[in-house]
């Protein structure tokens, strides 16, 4: 993939801004989630204390991350699961493909997993001749469209009903009307049910993992997660190493805030707790369970100023309040992780050189900090990443000259006065009715007509005694 530069981000953003359907869908979905979150948190006796508690749990867990992971591994093995460690995305996909080959799997069903998007698992499976089928309705729709998710919680929020009907008609070979939503859902369900029964393997993510019992927890609203993890004979779960809590008491705090922050539900419709494969006395469930713990640079941020980002529980609340995300949606970010959290973790997980634009694609309005259940200070990390883009010369060189020049002038009041006069003289030809009208070719404001500098500085008025 080519790097997500400012040029790339802006081009994609312009497309999003020019798409009235997308604008409406984004406004509607994010407002729905925002209102839901607010209502759901207000119902808690003390939501603020619970957020503090979650923050404390996440911080304490990361401080002893290795210990908790080892406990998890041991307990999961005791329960009969096989635990794999993957340092890189490539290693993770190799492990999945190997497991599939061992079991002669030709088709896998998947439930929604951001981690599998992170490692581009579908592409790796296809390359190995294994067919992946997404079973979360939203994920399936974007898989059919060959796109990437545009929202952590609602991956297909950018698709119109017409587009969905077309995609599903083609996939199921039926003629489906965009106006009959129950029929669309029924057709999808019928089609996917068959896949569940045929699939040799189910792949899921995990919203969190509980060390004390070696369990993983999966929250979904569609119930497809339960089928993915129980119908096929093999279940593979992939999760980042930071998704761990020591105890069930800690997990309860996480779960109390996850769905409330994400969609405004007290709990999602299904909360599945999976501990090892089916035991002999179980009537159903997979014969084999594999858990892949993915690092992908996460451990390198423990103990750094970016450690805080590993406290994220992937609720998506920060997306719904972000003024930038709300206007452009997920695609300009060019990453499975979008919005404010994506702007921070995409460069961290995949390299700042791959995502040089993302730290700059924020107004630093701090609305995300206000809603984040773990109170993660994303704007602080965006500024740190911007500083890295400057240090690593990932911004245009002229910007560097301009910034350094301006800073020097601002440290020397005499030059500041001189530069103020100079600026007025240079801008004079472009000032009409008190505003700047720069020719489109040089206009860095894309048509915004900023007020012109005042004829006199405040300091001049002060000195003349006009104040």
């Amino acid at each position: 993939m080519s790097p997500v530069t400012l040029g790339h981000f802006r081009a994609q953003a312009r497309q999003a801004l020019a798409d009235p359907f997308l604008q409406q869908a984004l406004a509607g979905a994010t407002a729905h989630f925002r209102e839901g979150r607010e209502r759901a948190l207000a119902e808690l006796p003390d939501a603020e204390a619970l957020r503090d508690h979650l923050k404390a749990i996440r911080r304490a867990t990361l401080a002893r991350l290795a210990d908790h992971l080892e406990t998890f591994e041991r307990r999961a093995q005791d329960a009969g699961a096989v635990v794999h460690w993957a340092l890189t995305p490539e290693e993770a996909t190799r492990i999945v493909v190997q497991i599939a080959r061992e079991h002669r799997v030709q088709m896998v069903v998947k439930s929604k997993s951001m981690t599998s998007e992170e490692i581009h698992l579908n592409a790796a499976l296809q390359a190995a001749g294994i067919q992946p089928v997404e079973t979360d309705l939203g994920e399936w729709i974007i898989q059919l469209a060959g796109e990437s998710p545009s929202h952590i919680i609602a991956p297909a929020v950018h698709k119109t009903r017409q587009q969905v009907a077309e995609l599903l008609s083609r996939a199921t070979g039926q003629d489906l009307s965009p106006d009959d939503i129950p029929a669309l859902a029924a057709a999808a369900r019928r089609f996917l049910r068959e896949k569940f029964l045929l699939a040799g393997m189910g792949i899921s993510g995990a919203n969190l993992a509980v060390a004390e019992t070696g369990s993983i927890v999966l929250v979904t609203n569609e119930g497809n997660g339960r089928l993915v993890t129980s119908a096929p004979p093999v279940h593979v779960a992939i999760l980042g190493i930071e998704k761990i809590v020591p105890t069930w008491a800690d997990a309860a705090v996480w779960l109390a805030l996850l769905a409330r922050s994400a969609t405004g539900q007290p709990l999602s419709v299904y909360t599945s707790i999976l501990t090892g494969p089916a035991r002999p006395e179980d009537v159903d469930g997979p014969k084999h369970m594999h858990i892949i713990l993915l690092d992908n640079r996460r451990s390198t941020y423990v103990g750094t100023s970016y450690e805080e980002v590993l406290q994220c529980i992937r609720c998506g609340a920060c997306l719904n309040v972000c003024p930038v995300y709300r206007k452009v949606g997920g695609h300009p970010y060019g990453s499975p992780y979008t919005g404010p959290i994506g702007a921070v973790i995409s460069p961290l997980l995949f390299g700042l050189d791959q995502y040089p634009a993302l730290p700059h694609a924020s107004t630093l309005c701090t609305a995300c900090v206000d809603v984040c259940p773990a109170r993660i200070d994303l704007p602080r990390m965006l500024i740190d990443l911007r500083t890295e883009t400057v240090e690593e010369q990932l911004i245009p060189r002229v910007d560097g000259w301009a910034e350094r020049g301006a800073a020097w002038v601002l440290r020397h009041p005499r030059w500041y006065r001189w530069a103020s006069r100079m600026m007025r003289w240079l801008l004079r030809p472009f000032i009409r009715e008190g505003r700047l009208h720069l020719p489109p070719r040089w206009d860095p404001f894309a048509g915004r007509r900023l007020p012109a500098p005042a004829p006199r500085l405040f300091r001049d008025l002060w000195e003349r005694g006009d104040v």
């Binding site: 400012l6 981000f9 802006r10 953003a13 312009r14 801004l17 003024p323 930038v324 206007k327 452009v328 730290p359 700059h360 694609a361 924020s362 107004t363 630093l364 309005c365 701090t366 609305a367 900090v369 206000d370 500024i383 911007r386 500083t387 890295e388 883009t389 400057v390 911004i395 910007d399 910034e403 350094r404 301006a406 800073a407 601002l410 440290r411 009041p413 500041y416 103020s420 505003r435 860095p444 404001f445 894309a446 048509g447 915004r448 007509r449 900023l450 007020p451 012109a452 500098p453 005042a454 006199r456 500085l457 405040f458 300091r459 001049d460 008025l461 002060w462 000195e463 006009d466 104040v467």
Partner: protein, 251 residues
């Protein structure tokens, strides 16, 4: 100590100095009416926030240090900008952490730094006496003022006391789209966010959109074409309401 003996400095901020001198005039006159005689230390320029936010940390540190040196002799430092106040109060101590001696000086300055409406309400306890009536306004909570300084009520209290009606808009604390360097790095998105803000302001039927942040103010004025509303700084509106601005300064 009597208020008259307290030394107070007015930090105009670079945007007010360059683009909005009438805001400085209004703020200083209001401070005088509230019983204070502000100084204007002439070496002041910019607090350095634009450099911090665009990733030029070294430059921001230089500007932070000189700003501290300029303003630390004063008992109060008052700024007509929520965002720059947040820079002095919240960012300086972080930026200068581990910087020999400067960290303590930054913290000491932070304790004496006030956003303009905050100062009028909590330190000066100024009571406006309205001399003329103004049309209804709507108030935009700028991001840093609302979320970093938690100053939401202060400007509203003053406006209401000055006899101004506030028609609240939905999500008054949603970003105006400025974001400093963001407005140049991703200008299309910046403009689109601002257009939404202006639309919602117009829908309140207020005739003036008021804010306490020069950055937001300039950004919103920049998108005013075809929008039947004015954008003003809270200091200007207050000064008008109590008769401290004559016509020539009304912009």
């Amino acid at each position: 100590m009597a208020t008259a003996a307290r030394r107070i400095a007015f930090f105009a901020t670079c945007l007010v100095d360059q683009f909005l001198p009438e805001v400085g005039v209004a703020a200083v006159r209001l401070l005088r009416q509230a019983g204070f005689q502000p100084d204007f230390p002439p070496e002041q320029t910019c607090c350095g926030q634009p450099f911090l936010n665009s990733g030029f940390r070294k430059q921001a540190i230089h500007l932070a240090r000189r700003t501290i040196a300029i303003f630390e002799p004063y008992d109060y430092i008052v700024l007509p900008s929520g965002s720059c106040t947040a820079m002095l109060r919240v960012h300086y101590p972080h930026l200068l952490r581990g910087d020999d001696g400067w960290h303590e000086r930054a913290q000491a300055l932070a304790r004496r730094t006030f956003e303009f409406t905050e100062f009028l309400v909590h330190v000066a306890e100024w009571q406006p006496v309205p001399t003329r009536s103004l049309p209804p306004v709507t108030y935009h909570d700028s991001c840093h003022m609302a979320r970093m300084l938690h100053l939401r009520e202060e400007p509203r209290v003053l406006l209401k006391a000055a006899g101004v009606t506030i028609n609240e808009m939905p999500e008054s604390d949603r970003c105006c789209g400025f974001g400093g360097i963001f407005s140049v790095r991703v200008p299309e998105v910046s403009n689109a966010i601002t257009a939404d803000k202006l639309r919602e302001a117009v829908e309140t039927r207020a005739s003036i959109l008021v804010t306490a942040d020069p950055g937001c103010l300039l950004q919103m004025r920049g998108m005013l074409d075809h929008t039947p509303i004015h954008v003003e700084h809270v200091a200007v509106i207050l000064a008008r309401a109590v008769g401290l601005l004559d016509k020539e300064n009304e912009g």
